[in-house]
Structures are given as C-alpha cells and as structure tokens.
C-alpha cells in the first residue's frame, strides 16, 4: 500500500511538471503545491528556548507573490495586529490605537515577533521559484533518506534576504524537506525542516515547520498549520488599506 502511494505521489509530481532533470520545475512544482495562487492559512507559532515557550496564533492570507495580509489572533497583547504587504510596500496596523504605520522594506529581514522567522517568511515576500536561479547538486543522504539537492542562488535584480538557499527535496513526492539559508559570506545561518505532509484542497503541504538558527541551536521556532484553504475567494478590496484597518 505504502509503495503504491509513493509511486502515485511521484508520478503525480512528475506529471504536474516536476521534471526530474529540471531543477526549475522541481521548485515551481513545490511552490505551486505549498503556496497555490491564493490561500488562507491558520497557524500556530511556538517559539521555544530551554527556559521558556511562547505561542502565537496567526491567520495569513496570501494572493500571488505581491499581496499578503496577516492577523495575529493571540496572545492578547498582540491580538488584532495586522500586517499588509502590497508589492514592496508594507504597513503594520495596531487596532487598539487605530494606528497604521508604513514600514521600511528593510523590516522584511527583521525577526517576526521575536521568532526565528522574519517578516519576509511570514508575508511570503520572496518566491523561491521566481527570485532564484536553480541547479541540482549531488544527492545527499540525511537521516536515512536520500534527497534531491537543489542550489538556489538569488537573481541579481531580486530583492531577497538570502543570497543562497539549499533545498533538500524528497524523491518520493518532490516536496522540500529541508531549506538551508546562507548569508553573503556563504555561512549557514538557519535551517528550516518540513514534516507531517497533509493535503488541503488538492495541495500537498508540510504542516509542521521547524526553524533552527545556527548561532543558537538550543532555540527554535515551530509553525504548525491547522488549516489551509486554497479555494478561498478574497474580495477585490481584501488586500487594501480599507481591509487593513477594518478590525
């Protein structure tokens, strides 16, 4: 049964465009599966260190690469805070004070709410498929599984945080299991691992993400997707100033 499933997944991902000899197709397929054209996701983020744990609940709406709106659902201190991104422009909205603040695009590299994720990660500002060149590296075996390894290097005109990202994709379903992020000096800065793949509206998505910074491996940030709706229909004005300020 398991073998049949594996075979079915593999055939499916190849059939959908993840040509086994084309790294671009692998990344496009993965992004299509995980991002879709638009989505509404409910997730729980847990920031963990040896001494404490902090949990946030977030709703994240994304349409294409250019529009995103995230809302913090809990805890109480941050509840209702929204972030809207339209192309390069980003605004934070603090509903208790009715205050909207334009945010510098440099804030995309800022830590999001003290987590190991950045604003860029949460708002999905960059696209692995569109903003990077891709090429295969040698396959690597990690934890008993051999992965297809893809080296992603930032295109010269793309506004991305990480000049190089290594993708470790499963040969079973073509989806990534590990991202390794490198800085300008070529130093590994953080590692994101994916697991617990579930299907939402026909999209296969890893629902358990763990981000570990290389400079302090005793801490990590875990994101668990509770639900993702890929069939959501947003109003034309959903990613707008009006929508940002209506809570």
């Amino acid at each position: 049964m398991f073998k049949k499933l594996l075979r079915k997944d593999f055939v499916l991902c190849v059939a959908l465009g993840a040509n086994v000899n084309n790294a671009d197709e692998w990344l496009k397929y993965a992004e299509k599966q995980m991002r879709g054209d638009r989505s509404r996701a409910e997730m729980v983020m847990t920031i963990q260190t040896p001494n404490w744990t902090r949990t946030l609940e977030i709703e994240s709406d994304v349409e294409g690469k250019k529009q995103a709106l995230s809302t913090i659902k809990s805890p109480a201190k941050e509840r209702g805070i929204r972030t809207l991104r339209i192309e390069n422009n980003m605004w934070n909205y603090f509903p208790k004070l009715k205050r909207k603040v334009a945010v510098s695009s440099s804030m995309l590299l800022a830590s999001w709410m003290g987590s190991d994720f950045t604003n860029d990660d949460i708002l999905k500002a960059s696209s692995m498929a569109e903003d990077y060149h891709h090429k295969f590296s040698s396959d690597e075996k990690v934890g008993g599984e051999t992965y297809k390894v893809i080296e992603n290097t930032a295109k010269t005109n793309s506004k991305v945080m990480w000049p190089k990202i290594m993708t470790y994709a499963s040969k079973k379903d073509c989806l990534p299991r590990i991202y390794k992020y490198y800085d300008k000096e070529g130093k590994l800065r953080r590692t994101l691992t994916f697991s617990d793949i579930k299907t939402f509206d026909g999209h296969k998505v890893p629902t358990h993400w763990e981000m570990v910074p290389e400079d302090d491996k005793s801490k990590k940030t875990v994101v668990d997707y509770k639900d993702i709706d890929f069939n959501v229909k947003f109003k034309p004005s959903h990613f707008s100033q009006k929508s940002l300020t209506d809570n």
């Binding site: 201190k77 390069n88 422009n89 208790k96 510098s104 800022a110 004005s237």
Partner: protein, 402 residues
C-alpha cells in the same frame, strides 16, 4: 449626551441585520517612579522639591461590537496616581496647585481633545489624583468604498514618532511611559477609499483646549489624503482649518532599498479671527532602517516655529523644541527582551534628553519595563520653561494584557 446615546441606539437598531461579534480586550499597568528635580525648576519656577516618588495605576478596557458592516467601539481609560507632588502645601499666599512635574509624569494627561460629550471625570485631592475617561466611543459603518464614523475617535496617521506635525489630533507618545493610550476626538469622519492607491479622510471635529474650557467650540474641518504614487513613493496631504488657523501640508515617504525616508511640511496661517499671531512652519525629516534582524534605528530632525504671541504656558508642545534632532534605537537582545534608547537634542540651546527602556516579556500576556528619563546636557536657553522643568527619573512598570 442623551441625544448622542439615542442616536447610537437608533443607528444600532437600523443596522442590526447580521451576526453580532463582540471582542473585549485591555491592559492594566502599575508604575513606580523615583524622580529628582531640576535645579533650575527649584530656583526659577518655585518647584521647591528635591527627590520624590510617584506611583500610578492605570488601565484600558476596550470593547467592540460588530454587526454586518457596522461597528461600535469604546475604550475606557482610568488612572490613579499618588505622590506628595500633588500636594505642595500652602504658602503665605494660600493653597498651591500640584507641582508641574505631575503633569509630565501623567503625560499624555489630555486624553480627549475637547470633551464635547462630557465623558470624563477627574478628581485631585491631597496626594491623589483619579481620572476616568471614555476616550473612544464611536459608531462606524463601512459601505463599499466608504467608511463613516461618528462619536469619539482616535485619528492616527503620519510617520513621525517624536514630532508629527501633519497630525494635530494625537500627541506623539515617544516621551511617555504609558502604553496603549491615544487621544480621543469628538465629531465625524468620512473616509473615501478612491482606489487601491488613494484614500481621503474628511474630518469635522471639535477643537483642542487646555482643561476646563467650556466656551464656544471652534470647528475643525480637515482633509487627509494618502496617495501611493508608485511602488516606492507615497504622498500624504492635509488641508483644513484647525485651532483657528488654516493649515496646509503633507508628507512624502520613499522606500529605499534598505530604508524608509520621509519628510513632512506643515504651513499654518495667522489666526483666522484676526487675533495677534504669526504664520507658522513645521518641518520634519526622518530615516527609518532595520539594520540587522535585531537592531532597528530611526532618525528624526525638524523645525517648529513657535508663535511669538503665545506665552509659554499656552504652548501645546512639551518637547521637542524649535530645532531638534532625535535618534532612536531598538535592540532585541533576546526574543523576550528589548532595549530602547532615544536621545533628543535641541540644536539651538544644546539641551539633550535621554529616554531608555528595557522591556521584558514574561508569561504570554505580561511584561515588565525598567525606564529612565534624564536631561543629559543642560540647555542655555533661559526662556525655555519645558527644559527647566524636566526631571531625572528612574522607574519600574508591570503590565498585563487581556
């Protein structure tokens, strides 16, 4: 007041046609501050105290009811303050008002621009002061590309944190130790979302007055627009009549590759009722950048012309002064700990003011803050009362959010 309530009830009745959603939130904070007086305040302004303690307990309760495209939202702010500084003791000339430092410690102490609807209570007795105010209570209705608001509302826009001249409806709170506080303004607001790039807000509000003013209400007619000129460039414009002056100005903000730069200019005419006054100009330039994932900086510099016909006690601004530069740094040394340091310098007099804060989040909804305020270099402007009054303070605050 009754009229306002009846109108609210009618509006609610007219709009109830969908599922009702409610939300309640708020915060409570206890604060202790140890303060040392400025020598010049003792000598020149009869503020004859050396060191003193100040305690404050305040809270906000925010309630929201949403039904369909309508919303009613309210915020109740209460503050209880205690310090011997509220009770200076009599002189041979009689009772004295509380020492002026109490006004700085309770800044912002004016949480409603003009209390047209009479929704605040303030009592000061011996060493105690109690304030209770409904500083937000409005009805809002969204209709397609429009938003209508009526009641007591917050009006918050503009990028300036130290100085924000294009927005006369809220005082910048960079100098205050209180959180989640904004000033309410009574009146109407109509917002027209023209398209994805252009929004215009029209405001008809009351005026702003120092406490205890029951005279004629001068209207505030105001328009604020935001226009996204390009992917990187946003233009804000303001035009209207406020505080008996015609005002015209705007803000330009531009996204550089790794920073946000912005500038504001505001022109204010002479008094429209021909009372003696000057033309005024306010200018601000700012730079905001996330240096690393943990370190954020902001620079603001500006000029605000003071009206030579106003005596100092009627000036609405505490700091900054005529010419100023300010640099703010926020550094996250730990996911739960943020350090915040701001220094403001009055270029003309050389006066510098330092604000430091260390905030530690513990549990999910509580934080503790250690703060300090200090004039780090004295100014040489003998006329500037605000600079003479500034105290040196250290304090501790504990906040809970619900």
């Amino acid at each position: 007041m009754r009229l306002a309530l009846c109108l609210f009830i009618l509006l609610i009745g007219a709009r109830v046609h969908a599922e009702i959603e409610t939300d309640f939130s708020g915060n409570v904070e206890g604060q202790f501050r140890h303060s040392q007086n400025n020598e010049e305040a003792k000598e020149d302004l009869f503020q004859d105290w050396d060191t003193e303690n100040f305690r404050m307990l305040y809270g906000n309760i925010n309630g929201k009811v949403e039904f369909g495209d309508s919303r009613i939202e309210a915020n109740w702010f209460s503050r209880y303050s205690q310090s011997p500084l509220f009770d200076p003791g009599p002189t041979i000339f009689g009772e004295r008002d509380p020492y002026l430092a109490t006004r700085i410690f309770t800044f912002p102490n004016k949480l409603v621009a003009r209390d047209i609807f009479k929704l605040q209570h303030k009592k000061q007795e011996d060493e105690y002061q109690f304030e209770s105010v409904l500083n937000k209570l409005y009805y809002e209705w969204d209709y397609e590309g429009h938003r209508f608001m009526f009641g007591r509302m917050y009006v918050n826009y503009g990028l300036g944190e130290i100085f924000n001249p294009i927005n006369p409806f809220n005082q910048p709170t960079a100098l205050t130790s209180v959180s989640q506080v904004a000033q309410g303004n009574d009146g109407f607001s109509f917002t027209f979302f023209v398209d994805d790039k252009h929004t215009i807000q029209f405001l008809l509000l009351g005026d702003k007055r120092i406490e205890g003013y029951d005279g004629q209400i001068d209207k505030t007619l105001w328009a604020h627009g935001e226009y996204l000129v390009s992917d990187d460039l946003q233009l804000d414009y303001v035009i209207g009549e406020d505080q008996e002056r015609h005002k015209l100005g705007g803000q330009v903000s531009y996204q550089l590759e790794d920073a946000l730069v912005f500038t504001q200019v505001l022109y204010q005419s002479e008094n429209v009722k021909d009372e003696p006054s000057d033309h005024l100009w306010d200018i601000l330039v700012g730079y905001d950048r996330q240096m690393t994932a943990k370190w954020h900086i902001r620079f603001e510099g500006g000029y605000q012309k003071a009206d030579s016909f106003l005596n100092a006690e009627n000036l609405e601004r505490f700091l900054p002064t005529e010419y100023f530069v300010a640099l703010a740094n926020v550094y996250e040394i730990h996911p739960l700990v943020k350090l915040n340091g701001t220094v403001i310098n009055d270029i003309k007099s050389g006066f510098s003011y330092l604000i430091t804060k260390a905030t530690y989040n513990f549990y999910s909804n509580m934080e503790v803050e250690v703060f300090g305020y200090a004039p780090v270099s004295k100014g040489d402007d003998p006329e500037n009362i605000a600079q003479k009054l500034v105290t040196t303070d250290v304090g501790l605050a504990i906040r809970a959010f619900f």
